[in-house]
Symmetry: C2
Subunit: 386 residues, 2 copies
């Protein structure tokens, strides 16, 4: 299979875009990525999205966006894997270029979660859980994560205040990200006092929903030099794994086996390990998910993920910087778009374009996008151009 590189990136600000529909948001991100790559056309468009049908009454989304950005006629499909939809779309785009089906592919993640038409966003997010065995009993997506967090605290003797390291880091990093939704720093004291959402998850444990889109352009690495003036970032590994959707079906609810399996496959493909990473864009939809991700991906021992954050090791100057542009927590979490935001942010770091948030000499970065409460995990490892 061919090596694949990212030759263009684009994104919109994550916000409540009441005046922008799905096609406008996706269009902004895709056109920015096209311009960044310096391409004229593409062979295919893969769109990661979870909620367009329920919330805005629009399926058939990929053909719609392809037409809107001036690429009428090209192959275009939407890919859904709950909150992991964005990276799942990238994975299929990667496969089509690596395998030789296509030469130039655009992957876009887009979600519109505010100013919706048909249903509440909370109802939409619950579709990431098992409709017949979880949601039907009244579990929302936040409450499922609350059960996980409570269990984490119980099993590992952790207090709620011990989770503050994640949002404090994310908000501090988002200050310098013009595309982030929440650009104000927060303190551990503010975290402790934040309004309760679903005990023990409070407002500052939770990522914010929002509208947004991000996009990347892929081509074979052998052709990447033709575009993007040497800033192309190589996809060194791409992997995906799944788990039971319902948390109660998992033998160990506190172990994200899909995240582990996906990370292990990615490390093997790239020939690297967690210690080689200069940054890790993890799926901090909730603080407990950030802790579990660090553990499953091999950055912390079981039950110790939360201390990595409390000890400052996830800070930009720490051992393994996470949420370097604000993460899901502070950049915002437009669910189907998040996986591509993560990739765009890793690419910015590896291109040395992360501004105030730049990790010095970042050469290798990982992104892990999680669907549901861990039933889908998609991992990508990116490497700076040499």
């Amino acid at each position: 299979m061919r090596n694949v590189s990212i030759i263009g990136i684009g994104q919109t600000k994550v916000a409540e875009h009441w005046d922008r529909s799905l096609r406008h948001l996706a269009g902004d991100a895709v056109l920015a990525a096209i311009q960044d790559a310096g391409i004229e056309t593409a062979d295919a468009l893969y769109v990661g999205n979870m909620l367009s049908g329920l919330l805005t009454g629009q399926e058939h989304l990929a053909a719609l966006i392809a037409d809107f950005v001036g690429l009428r006629g090209i192959e275009a499909v939407k890919i859904e894997a709950a909150c992991g939809s964005g990276a799942a779309a990238l994975r299929l785009g990667y496969a089509s270029v690596a395998g030789g089906l296509h030469d130039v592919v655009i992957v876009c993640g887009v979600e519109k979660m505010t100013d919706t038409v048909n249903a509440e966003t909370t109802t939409g997010l619950a579709m990431a859980a098992d409709a017949d065995y979880e949601s039907i009993h009244g579990l929302t997506f936040v409450s499922i994560n609350a059960l996980l967090m409570r269990r984490y605290m119980h099993e590992y003797g952790v207090e709620h205040e011990d989770f503050s390291g994640f949002p404090v880091n994310a908000h501090r990093n988002a200050v310098h990200n013009a595309n982030a939704m929440f650009r104000r720093p927060i303190t551990a004291e503010q975290f402790a006092r934040a309004r309760m959402i679903a005990d023990p998850i409070n407002l500052l444990d939770s990522s914010g929903i929002g509208d947004g889109a991000a996009a990347v352009v892929l081509c074979p690495t052998s052709r990447a030099r033709e575009y993007g003036d040497g800033r192309a970032v190589r996809i060194k590994a791409s992997s995906m794994a799944t788990d039971a959707v319902a948390v109660h079906d998992r033998p160990d609810p506190l172990w994200l086996s899909a995240a582990e399996a996906s990370a292990v496959k990615a490390y093997k493909q790239a020939g690297v390990g967690p210690r080689d990473m200069d940054l890790f864009e993890l799926h901090d939809a909730f603080t407990v998910m950030a802790a579990l991700s660090l553990e499953a991906a091999g950055f912390a021992e079981r039950g110790k993920g939360v201390w990595l954050a409390q000890n400052g090791e996830i800070a930009p100057e720490g051992r393994i910087p996470v949420s370097t542009a604000g993460g899901l927590k502070a950049r915002g979490h437009p669910v189907g778009a998040t996986g591509i935001y993560q990739i765009v942010e890793v690419a910015q770091q590896l291109r040395g374009e992360a501004g105030e948030n730049q990790i010095p000499n970042a050469r290798l970065g990982m992104a892990q996008n999680i669907g549901g409460s861990g039933a889908t995990a998609v991992t990508h490892i990116l490497e700076a151009a040499v």
Copy 2:
């Protein structure tokens, strides 16, 4: 790229399965395909589905199904391209095997359209159209097709009764298909008298919605002999194209340019033409769509598709048999599953397992799955094992 073969097929009956959820339907089809192929496991599951979110409150569908069929952990994503979702999923499954990403991939199309929870199926189907510029004005999916049919009749001087050849053929063929929804033959007189739905489309112009699932197992042709005792069917071509989603955005509403582009690409890849086909499973969601498909795919001249049906050339003994197992019209049209039903039915013909509907010596068959009123078209050409 590697040649790819279909080594296993499975399907459920299309019906109002009030006692079967999405996972049960998909499970039945996938397990049947696994058994038919004689495989123990698979690398990935790609699921074609359009409406699970809106109608049943379940996204994250692919991970759910993978777990339910005993394949917890494997890569699994849902692919959506409106009514073309099934074949779009096959296209990505094909790409992943052809390109070397995976060796054994299961592709399942599934849809549950009756006994739904959240919304009416008519609302769901309208999501295949442009939400902001078509559906918002009250257009349903049937009424968009009614506009096309009226225009067809006007432009080409065709009467409504001239469309009877399509449903008469489809219903006659469905009599022998145990998985079909409507197994009674109909006459041209019954067609003429059928209840009006959206003038000029009447009940017998329209395919029936239903619940159902179909599945195939793919592997490299070089390994196909290890499985399926020599009945493997080769995917000789796979292609996809798109068009404007809104009909009013197309320069010529009566020409399915995506269907044409997709067919032309497939013919080129396979090195064959329409005259080489022993059968063509087309997308007869409405009679006018069947006529337009025959024209776009090169089986009839512009405006003449309807006469191919009236002259009996689409019958099993005709020049180009279509809807050999009942088509969307009489087998039923569980939208996201339809593209895989078409493939299963072509495979049955090429394996010589089509029973009473067998086309003698069928060696080469084509399936074209259309999304929306033509904005997505996915074409596959299959060849019998040599």
